[in-house]
């Protein structure tokens, strides 16, 4: 006798963007796990062609409202390489400061409104707030400070307007930054408290032998510069990114997936990878915090990414406060450049992982071609691989519970489906043969 059943969860929630998951089971055998991203494609790479290269930071920002700064940073660095522009130390510091703002906003949002409710059994951050009012208020305040920093440097928090190829249109006002300093200092301690809070959560027992990948830099925690580092194969230059990690298309998704060319295997990008690979470069309080929370030297439990996010949140506040204290306004933070034909690539660390851009430009300053590899498409294969090994432990449970656990695992990656291209709908097909 054979029975078959289909489990369907209509939408994956508390992720940025929309997509679906299909799991096909035959008895206890998992036949396929497919993360199905059917967010409408928006063809950014196509309509960048022929446009003035100065448009790239503002246009690519519109790929994702949660991490626009990442798009602006990867695009300007890639284009500056194509044009041979060297930026000044002042510009470099301000870009780090801007990135701190985005990490703070994005990490505080994910920890408090999207991820923590999973561990405490609530449907939303707002519902969680009825039982944990102080924690939620603290989280919202942390998030707000990130937005304020973005506004001072960028004019607004979603799609800032101050970033350009060569630097910034206008240096930020020192007074405005100094006014924010007390909030940033409060944020260091508050972010550390939030991290202690989430580190006490009950984490599902699940580990995987990941190939962690992120930028790495000899002197600092990675944002905009450095080489790529893989926990399995070591360092490789950003210029060889697509030769090392290749994107490919699968029928079930409008997002391209990625895998390591050499090993044909998936990679894990994001806060967990970054903390594992760059822990020594964390700011002092964040580093001490990681020890205090007993964060493992090589943490392989994806659910603990929430703790890694807290550590990075603390780091971003510490670094932002230090940068603000050291900030001395200069007249211009914009390098001029001559147009020339060329080619340039850059990788920077978006809140959810490495974001790679490559551009070809012509001698009139027009974009000839653009290639963009977003962290969520790169993590997509890893999520599927994780689910394949995570699911067997849960198959005896009812469908709704399985679906719930799958969603939790997916959410721990903080996937941004807008970036990958979006509606996550979870379907589990069961063909039980008995």
């Amino acid at each position: 006798m054979s029975t078959s059943r289909t489990i369907r969860v209509e939408a994956l929630t508390r992720v940025e963007g929309e997509g679906a998951l299909n799991v096909r089971l035959s008895g206890d055998q998992i036949e396929a796990v497919e993360l199905n991203i059917y967010e409408p494609p928006r063809f950014f790479e196509a309509f960048l062609r022929g446009r003035p290269l100065e448009d790239a930071p503002d246009i690519t920002a519109r790929i994702c409202g949660i991490c626009p700064v990442a798009y602006q940073m990867s695009s300007v660095h890639a284009l500056e390489r194509a044009l041979g522009v060297e930026i000044t130390p002042e510009i470099r510091q301000l870009r780090r400061l801007l990135y701190c703002g985005e990490w703070i906003e994005s990490h505080a949002l994910h920890m408090h409104l999207l991820h923590a409710p999973d561990f405490l059994g609530f449907a939303s951050g707002i519902e969680m707030g009825q039982h944990f009012p102080e924690e939620l208020k603290r989280g919202l305040k942390l998030k707000k400070i990130g937005n304020q920093l973005l506004e001072i440097l960028g004019g607004r928090s979603v799609h800032p307007i101050n970033v350009c190829v060569g630097g910034f249109y206008r240096p930020p006002k020192r007074d405005a930054l100094l006014d924010l300093l007390p909030s940033l200092e409060w944020g260091i301690a508050a972010a550390a408290d939030a991290t202690r809070w989430v580190s006490e959560f009950d984490f599902p027992e699940f580990e995987a032998d990941y190939d962690f990948v992120s930028l790495t830099h000899p002197d600092e925690y990675p944002f905009n510069e450095g080489d790529m580092l893989s926990s399995r194969t070591g360092v490789f230059p950003v210029a060889e990114y697509e030769k090392t990690i290749q994107e490919y298309q699968v029928p079930h998704s409008t997002a391209l997936q990625a895998e390591k060319v050499a090993t044909k295997s998936s990679c894990h990008f994001g806060p967990l990878a970054r903390v594992n690979l760059n822990r020594e470069k964390l700011q002092p309080i964040a580093k001490k915090l990681a020890d205090e929370c007993h964060f493992p030297t090589l943490c392989q439990n994806p659910f603990r990414a929430i703790v890694a996010r807290g550590i990075e949140l603390t780091h971003a506040f510490e670094e932002a406060a230090a940068l603000v204290k050291a900030y001395r306004p200069v007249k211009s933070v914009r390098q001029s450049y001559e147009l020339r034909a060329g080619e340039g690539a850059a990788a920077t660390e978006a809140p959810r992982g490495t974001l790679f851009h490559r551009y070809h430009v012509d001698d009139e300053g027009k974009i000839v071609s653009a290639l963009i590899s977003a962290p969520t498409s790169q993590n997509q294969r890893q999520i599927e691989v994780d689910l394949e090994s995570f699911l067997p432990g849960y198959l005896s449970l009812d469908n709704a519970t399985i679906a719930h656990h799958c969603e939790r695992l997916i959410r721990s990656y903080d996937p941004c489906i807008s970036c990958a291209t979006h509606f996550l709908r979870l379907t589990i097909e069961r063909n039980d043969v008995s």
Binding site: E16, D55, I59, G65, L113, K143, I161, P251, C416
Partner: protein, 261 residues
Amino acid sequence: MSNKLRLGVFKFASCDGCQLSLLNAEDELLALAEKLEIAHFLEASSIIGAGPFDVSLVEGSISTEADLQRIKDVRRLSKTLITIGACATSGGIQALRNGASYEEFVRAVYPSPEFIHSLETATPISQHVPVDFELRGCPVNTKQLVQILVDHLHGRRIRVPNHSVCRDCKLSGTVCVTVARGLPCLGPVTQAGCGAICPEFTRGCYGCYGPAHQSNPSSLMAWLSGHQHPVEQLVPLLQNFNAAAPAFSNAAKELQEGARR
């Protein structure tokens, strides 16, 4: 519980930035949640309410067959439907594919174009269903978004100023970037709402809030192109996040035709 208005937030082709603008109301979020029941907001809550909704916020443009059907369902289930952001009100940046070779676009991004199912155009919500109010911006302004929700809660008519960015610069004493720096700026023809931030940061406005009421982008373009701004620079300026808004797309067309003549 029962006397709260039921809020739905829906996403179509977009970047999430306008929805995030609601979550960015950190100071008002909890107070709003006292008055509004978040019945459907995938990005923020796992509760997926079936409707009906008293007020729905719709982000994004229509670019697939499935979305064409879904927006009709959302409209049917919503008493008041408010579109938020340039994607929803004019088609957004993805509307740049309208009029381009769609197939070529797909091929440029995806190695196997046959797996991709989407429409050849990305169009505003109002082209498919009646819309009660359109809030402009790429992204919308959090303060305006909160304001219209509060107005709606109190039964007041929803409205936002529809004058130009240029006027906000004058009000805030920002030096004109066209006069002082010779930069092309869409401020005179773009609707206010952003706080005139670009000129304040010494760059020209690039039109995030779309054409202002009764503005004449064609005449501004004629003036700018007569003052040393090349057409190749002006056309992309109009072809941003509101490229498909008629006043902007007509002005771009006229510029291109003028250049060909």
